[in-house]
Amino acid sequence: MNDDVLDVADVRAMNEVVQQPVVAKNKITDISEITETVGIPFADNAKMSMRNVDVFYGEKQAIFDVNLDIGVNEVIAMIGPSGCGKSTFLRCLNRMNDTIDICKVTGELNLEGQNIYDPKLDVVPLRARVGMVFQKPNPFPKSIYDNVAYGPRIHGLATRRADMDEIVETSLRRAGLWEEVKDRLHQPGTGLSGGQQQRLCIARTIAVSPEVILMDEPCSALDPIATARIEELIDELSENFTIAIVTHSMQQAARVSHRTAYFHLGKLVEVNETEKVFTNPDHDLTESYITGRFG
């Protein structure tokens, strides 16, 4: 697995490359002509595999026929212009879209070979396995401790107080927040700074020990320093968790992910090794996007 992370210099170099005149590879201007994803959408050791996924909001179709695998302990970034459906797709992966009445998902979405949209399957254990971190930090109006302990508590993961303390500490440590908050665990989580709140939300998610963590633009509400901290954290977490991250920042995708998926108007255009996407993408829509022609 590719653990190399592009640093800023690489990105700059990369940008220099793409600023040269673009040579059309497979020239497509009309989105309806995109029928197949280019690159390497499939993985050998797939944690989650999605086949022919369509998503509808009422009459309107938001996702068209997406096929994608997410490998074990892989970090996959999803990029694309606003409204391209990347967040919608991410929210399908732990059925967060269930809370929207008019949303309908078809196709096959498997977690370790089990269809997660099977009507017989419960979302509750699913979400315990596939956790989610949201765009805006959303700590509960409770203490820091209770925020982290919430998940283990509802799922009954710790029976004794000592076990719970251990889970809370481990999670906060893994989220890199322990040193900052260990003396004020019983103060409200809403009193933390934005970056700390987001790391608290990550700690809250990993306290349940999920297998997959979905991150929906986790840094969009944060300042650059807090962002750098979270990105570091994602890198550390990728040792133990499978992570799918939606991001608006191409640099971020380049820095944290192993593979990158490019979405365009509800279609998955290209999936490739991150380095390849940012240096030499296979599809000219991807190229147009990363050179900043739209987005």
């Binding site: 971190v133 509960f140 919430y150 509802i154």
Partner: protein
Amino acid sequence: MSFSTLFVIILVGIAVAYVLGRSRSLTIAGRLGGIKSLHSLPFYYGTQAALWCAIPCLILLALWAAFDDSIIRQIILQHLSPEQQNLSAQELSLLLNTVESIASGVSSIQASPEVMAIADRVISLRQLSQTILAVTIICALVLLAAWGWVKVKPEYRARNGVERVFMLFLLTCSTLAIFTTVGIVFSVLFESIRFFGMIPITEFLFGTHWSPQLAIRSDQVGSSGAFGAIPLFTGTMLISLIAMIIAVPTGLMTAIYLSEYANNKVRAIVKPLLEILAGIPTVVYGFFAALTVAPMIKNALHGLELPLISFAIGPLEVSGESALAAGLVMGVMIIPFVSSLSDDVINAVPQSLRDGSYGLGSTQSETVKKVILPAALPGIVGAILLAVSRAIGETMIVVMAVGTAARLTMNPLESVTTVTVQMTTLLIGDHEFDSAKTLAAFALGLVLFVITLGLNFFALRIVKKYREQYD
């Protein structure tokens, strides 16, 4: 001339002033070369002139209408013969009523010559007052209209004047709320202070015996009555408590179900249906409580032998005017109140908190119980406080469904009485306005006002703070 005729005259005067002011401005404008040369439109000059006429004359008329009767009354009282002045308060008011009915020509009773003389005097004073008023108002109208006419000049800023008056009118209307509160405070405070002059405040607030019925006549034995309001407070609390036990869980669960579980269709049907309950007049609830629910409770529970309880006190005894019936019906009335307030509060909890909880794999009820309710708690407490204040001040249900006998009990099957019931029983019908009995109603009103005002004030503050938190 009667007030209504004068009113019409004033209206005509205002119209004339408007036409005069407007036409003069047009004439001036014509001389100077068009409306452009005026500061304001002709409409504003007319309105300005009309306002100058209207405001002083209408104020004068209103003041006169409000005070002339009492002034005439004072004059009459000062000119009474010595033996008439020595009459007791009751006899005096009877005398004045007779005079009034003769003077206004309602009855043609043959009264004694002295009374007839007073009546004649009243009639002549009234005529005098009417004449003075008519002359004053007509003079004022003419003078003010003339002044307004003179004031019309091209550089005169009529629009600004009119706008200022408009603004002052709006301001006055909005301060009515303050005057209402002040009016309430004064009307209950003064009478209460008089009451506490007769009955010590400690006896009123901490006494446990309430029987104001004794104080019908001042010369009666034991006339002071007993004004210990504790039984009323406990009665009010008992009924409010029963109402809250019904309304809070039901209303809260209804709000939760409608906002978190029900789909749009169910919500669109159930919500307005439940709100009908809030729109039904309280007199209907009272009727229902007294004639349907109370007998039902009595039939169902009277003589029932419950294990444990019956062992201590024997078979249940249920009063036909039980606190339970009134409390139950009041609770039903308050359900939509609690549910719509809680609904607002629950909807104010941001969706991101729900997402956060669902994202961790909690069930809906866990999200509600552990995230939404704690987050919405201040708002819900505020809503409950408002509901309590509503229950305490509710009148018709208790007036119709519970009795007037003050009992110091917490047994919901017995009959109790409440603050509002006593206020109505003390004030319905003709009483001397000065007796401790009527004044007691105002003292009860003061207590009720202070308590509900306090509850509302805190509840509204809590809810406001809560809303700001998520805005």
